[in-house]
Symmetry: C2
Subunit: 341 residues, 2 copies
DNA sequence: CTGAAAGCGCTTACAG
DNA sequence: CTGAAAGCGCTTACAG
């Protein structure tokens, strides 16, 4: 592929002039400009971004770390981040950690080696190794925390209103008259999981309901944990359950199916994460709807702004969720009953 | 961040020696090696991959183009590709085209400028511009076609058995006794769409059933087209429908809901794409299950092999689908009826 | 076995 | 306004 020297030769100018017209970075007389443009076109010249990055010491790449793109929570987040990144002239490089700190470490190291300009991090459980923390600090590479906040990680953050979301979900169940409300928890080692648990407890407390630890089952945001948690929890006869994400709800439904327990007639459910297809299948899930696309886009924007202005104080943005009421909470059922009465 | 010169200075050797030990590319005496390693550790040296790529003329990046990562068909494909790419020492850069040829052109150009070593392409409708075709040809940059094949695009391909998949799905419906079978088609300008339509027609023909064009509604793999197609199609009273992907099935279900038509009692459905959550919600969808993760991984592997061996003749790999029978096709219903009889 | 030096393809002060 | 040259951080023949 033609390089800048070939273009300069063809146009009979210096490479500085070619660079100036290609980047519009300095005035070039119309005649020279025309000659350069003709040469660029003739040779099909595409500036080598690798070389440019090396020279400018900016790669215009952003690294993004998520647990698993195949978990349907993440694609929209990633899409939002990608659109915003591209709009700002950045390319996004994605990695999946499966919430494994070793993979995370590996990919962070790779990002550093590739000299990404900044990082979007949905942190896996646990703290960074001292070494990685030092590397990140030394390079002064901006990092924005995505959903999963940590006090030991400095910098900007865009979060969900996890506590509030869980609080509203559970309060909704309380309002519908359920008294024995269980929970399939999120990853406890991570802020989203802890905050959702807090919301659950706060809602119970406000309703004057006791907190029963045995009704709270651990989960890891995957199908299997929702299933096994459901198998255990359902034996304890809850009348409603709040589930921390969609995939665990899927597993929980498998458990209900196995026990031949109906939703919402026997056990009501409210879930986190909304999806376009939830309206089309029964039971139609009542959910707490997080603005996923917006969150990803916002995170990328915050990172890009940070790149432009390193001095500014760190920001934390918290995005609001909204309750989408459908059938699985039993609301429609109660309405129908009221109607008949 | 420390560079190779700083390390060389610290270890009192030349940069060639540092390079040799960092890359294990030549024998270095134990003493020098130890000194270099100590210096690397002390300075926290991370080789700059940008510079390495420039020097070696290989970026170790793979570009991947998909329509939309937020369409649940793609995340698993991407995850497969990413895992395989990383395993082979490559980094994947992803772009979403929304099946818009202009975005596709834009991103391809970006990939070329970034000097990716190869491209995984789920082609948007239509042919490449002459210019892009020339660029791709000139750079001799390997490209593997993902699912969407085109004769005017040379190179390796990994495909789904679209025709066979559709054939089996529709034959299954025929076997269950349906005679007025409709279809929500995929994107016709793309091979997957055409091949699935072919499978549908072949199945009808083999069953001696007439092909009725009015029962085939266009679709674009998005929810909305399944919905509006469903609204139209259902007026024609089909007894069963084959739908080309999951998102359109979601839209189709919305249309059924609106008309208060039940599935499978009134209209049976078989769909393309399986998902982990389909077991948990009603109607439980009977689907043609494509090996998505494997397909992505396979495509990345084919591309990496091509990079290692440019001479070899182009390969086309076709992956087999399998029918997953659940409730939406009415099979269970018929079984129950037979039981009673 | 080890090092000096050229080259990868850009950008950018600095002269003129 | 334009160009010669150094620099970004690597790799890799080529001497010795």
């Amino acid at each position: 592929m033609a390089n800048i020297y070939a273009v300069a030769k063809e146009a009979k100018v210096s490479v500085a002039t070619v660079s100036a017209v290609v980047n519009g970075t300095a005035y070039v007389s119309p005649q020279l400009k025309a000659r350069v443009e003709a040469a660029v076109h003739k040779l099909g010249y595409q500036p080598n971004l690798l070389a440019r990055s090396l020279a400018k010491q900016r790669s215009h790449m952003l690294g993004m770390i998520v647990p698993d793109i195949a978990n349907p929570f993440w694609p929209e987040v990633v899409r939002g981040a990608e659109d915003a990144a591209h709009a700002a002239g950045y390319t996004l490089v994605l990695s999946n950690t499966d919430d494994d700190p070793r993979k995370e470490e590996l990919y962070l190291r790779l990002f550093l080696a590739k000299r990404v300009d900044g990082i979007l991090l949905a942190k896996s459980p646990g703290r960074l190794s001292r070494e990685m923390a030092a590397l990140l600090g030394v390079g002064r590479i901006p990092l924005v925390k995505l959903f999963r906040a940590r006090n030991d990680l400095p910098g900007d953050a865009v979060l969900l209103d996890d506590r509030q979301a869980a609080f509203e979900a559970v309060s909704h169940l309380v309002r519908l008259g359920y008294r024995r409300i269980g929970m399939i928890m999120g990853v406890k080692e991570v802020s989203t999981g802890r905050r959702r648990l807090k919301g659950y407890r706060d809602a119970l407390e406000q309703a004057g309901l006791p907190f029963r630890p045995e009704l709270c089952r651990p989960g890891d945001y995957r199908v299997q944990s929702g299933y096994s948690g459901g198998l255990d929890l359902l034996k304890l006869k809850p009348d409603a359950v709040f589930i921390s994400n969609y995939l665990m709800a899927v597993g929980f439904m498998q458990a209900m199916r196995q026990y031949q327990i109906r939703c919402p007639q026997d056990v009501a459910i409210v879930t986190c994460d909304d999806h376009p297809w939830l309206d089309s299948f029964a039971p139609r899930l009542t959910t707490v709807n997080f603005p996923k696309y917006t969150a990803g886009a916002e995170a990328a924007r915050v990172l890009v702004e940070r790149l432009a202005n390193r001095g500014r104080a760190a920001r934390t943005i918290e995005l609001r969720s909204s309750l989408t009421i459908r059938d699985s909470c039993g609301y429609a059922l109660q309405q129908a009953a009221a109607q008949r009465a």
